[in-house]
């Protein structure tokens, strides 16, 4: 079969004659992902521009209205425009995506670098920690921590950060261990560079790609997690407009006003798709290097 494989690059070459250095092809998936994420960011930054109504304006004469031209997503039990509430909720959910991953990504990366480079007792302890985190379901651990701290967005960030960094650190540690075996790391030591320079100037940039890709995926996961906790009443608290909270709001009207829960859920799905498609694009870009 090696001959079929051998013929393949030749075909690719024949298909694009004369082009010596190919530009990264713009694939539809990542492009769509970028567009979705951009749309969500616009909603998050300027919801008052995008949303047709105030998310808080009650209208007792127009409660539980099904989707119409005036209210594309319908209205809730207080007559509030659901589209506007979904748009305002974007701000909270984007915040969740960023705040739940920022600390874990940064701290986890640095921690992973250090354990990976130095090994020893710290590495031993870290590996036990990984065993532990793998053994207790992530959601259960986060819920247990939130239970102690009390429900709420900030406590949720604390809980997710307290556990989440370990995944980044594990990823980074593996990469650093692989990079350490390469010649240039030894060369750095021979030249008498200090460890901070070797670790952060030489090893880290070569090992960071998988972490960046994971960061994208993690943002999608954290939106799902944040909305789940919001739904359970452990994350964002009503009356804050958050997608999970909006879905929970509509739960009691499930049979009479399905639109109250269904549309906020679509926003979650859209965000999840956006971030993971973008993540695929980043992964493809990184692999090209």
């Amino acid at each position: 079969m090696s001959e079929v494989a051998a013929a393949a690059p030749a075909l690719a070459g024949a298909a694009t004659p004369g082009r010596t250095r190919r530009l990264p092809r713009l694939r539809p998936g990542p492009l769509l992902g970028a567009a979705i994420v951009l749309l969500l960011l616009v909603c998050a930054v300027a919801p008052d521009w995008v949303a047709p109504y105030s998310p808080l304006k009650f209208d007792y004469r127009g409660t539980l209205r099904p989707p119409s031209w005036a209210h594309p997503f319908g209205t809730d039990n207080f007559g509030r425009d659901i589209l506007s509430r979904v748009i305002w909720a974007t701000r909270i959910d984007m915040q969740i995506a960023i705040f739940s991953t920022l600390f874990p990504a940064v701290f986890g990366t640095v921690a992973g670098c250090l354990v990976g480079y130095f090994g020893g007792v710290a590495d031993l302890l870290f590996r036990r920690l990984v065993d532990l985190v793998v053994t207790v379901p992530f959601l259960v651990l986060v819920i247990a921590i939130v239970a102690v701290l009390g429900p709420g967005l900030v406590n949720m960030y604390v809980a997710v950060s307290a556990v989440g960094w370990i995944f980044y650190a594990r990823l980074m540690r593996g990469e650093i261990l692989a990079q350490k075996r390469r010649d240039y790391a030894a060369a750095g030591r021979v030249m008498g560079y200090g460890w901070p320079r070797i670790v952060f100037r030489h090893l880290l940039p070569n090992a960071i790609s998988p972490v960046l890709v994971f960061w994208m995926t993690d943002m999608a996961l954290c939106i799902l997690l944040g909305s789940s906790l919001g739904y359970l009443g452990l994350g964002a608290q009503p009356p804050t407009a958050e997608w999970g909270v909006l879905i929970a709001d509509g739960k009691n009207f499930m049979t009479t006003a399905w639109w109250m829960s269904i549309f906020p859920g679509m926003a979650i799905v859209l965000a999840g798709i956006g971030f993971s498609l973008l993540g695929d694009g980043v992964a493809a870009l990184v692999r090209r290097r």
């Binding site: 079969m1 959601l139 102690v148 999608a220």
Partner: protein, 313 residues
């Protein structure tokens, strides 16, 4: 080493991990700021009632004394009494565990029933329209939170069409198969999307493997080539993934039980959190850690059966 010896060794390896979980939970529950007694009884509780509760919970003793008695309890599987329900935590958990086990078990079976055929169809038509549709379905499925999926199924199949009960459980095993079907399907769909994606990749890789071509060159029927050689090999990484997904599955069960009002350990967990019943939260976390460890062990054993090369490793 025989298979029994290996399993025994792995069982022993679970002990330190679970002990570590227990220590962590103790630290989490006792060392964080705040007085659980005040949190439990509220600001307006009298000093006398607070003192009584603290004594009941053992909080009036030194931290190290509490720690040792706690470890002793965990080791002997006495997880203390529920603060709010005044029932031994172990009893409480054991009463509800079967429902959760049944739910996750059904979900796993359903997930495989969904993922394996879809992955097969996609892999055999790699790059085609059907493959694209299945991959898009997977992408949407992966982005769909469990509670939302559950609500949709609830609205359409249970409340709308009336095919299934809207929640709760039935009176016996057979009735529960019916009551738990929709929640299990919810969990299964989430799990199936992850499995499908992975299995599709694995199948595509195996389909291009030389041993598949050799099996074809032997003149075996296509069904035998696919069913015996391709599937068997592709299942090896999928079983690994299935094991790694057990955490998500348990997390998903916690949420699903809330959506469908199922009295399993997941629902117990959420209820206990709102009731600030730390003894139950703590006990549950430890029990779930033991369960997950046992599943890892099971997956390792199945791996050994599926892939003889693992035994040497």
């Amino acid at each position: 080493m025989g298979i029994v010896g290996r399993i025994g060794l792995r069982l022993l390896q679970i002990v330190p991990t679970v002990a570590l979980v227990a220590v962590l939970m103790f630290a989490l529950m006792r060392l964080l700021p705040g007085d659980p007694a005040i949190q439990l009884l509220g600001d307006r509780a009298t000093d006398a009632s607070l003192a009584r509760l603290r004594h009941e919970m053992g909080f009036d003793r030194s931290v190290s004394a509490q720690f040792w008695s706690y470890l002793e309890h965990v080791a002997t599987l006495r997880l203390g009494d529920s603060i709010t329900m005044h029932v031994p935590v172990t009893r409480l958990i054991l009463d509800r565990l079967p429902i959760t086990l049944m739910l996750t078990g059904m979900a796993t079976v359903l997930a495989l029933l969904i993922a394996v055929p879809l992955a097969f169809v996609a892999a055999l038509r790699e790059g085609g329209a059907v493959d694209l549709a299945i991959r898009m379905l997977g992408q949407v499925g992966l982005s769909m939170p469990v509670f939302y999926l559950g609500l949709i199924l609830l609205i359409t199949l249970a409340a709308g069409l009336g095919w299934f009960p809207v929640g709760g459980i039935g009176g016996g095993f057979v009735e529960n198969l019916y009551y738990l079907f929709l929640p299990a399907l919810t969990l299964a769909l989430s799990l199936a999307m992850v499995l499908m994606r992975n299995l599709r990749e694995a199948l595509i890789e195996v389909l291009h493997a030389e041993f598949v071509q050799f099996a074809t060159a032997k003149g075996l029927r296509r069904r035998l080539v696919l069913g015996r050689h391709v599937l068997r090999n592709a299942l090896v990484p999928t079983v690994t993934l299935l094991g790694l997904q057990i955490g998500s599955l348990v997390g998903g069960a916690v949420i699903t039980e809330s959506v469908f009002a199922i009295p399993g350990v997941g629902r117990l967990m959420i209820d206990s959190i709102f009731a600030r019943d730390y003894a139950v939260v703590q006990g549950l976390t430890i029990v779930l850690a033991v369960l997950v460890s046992l599943v890892f062990l099971l997956v390792d054993t199945v791996q050994g059966l599926l892939d003889p090369r693992q035994e040497a490793a």
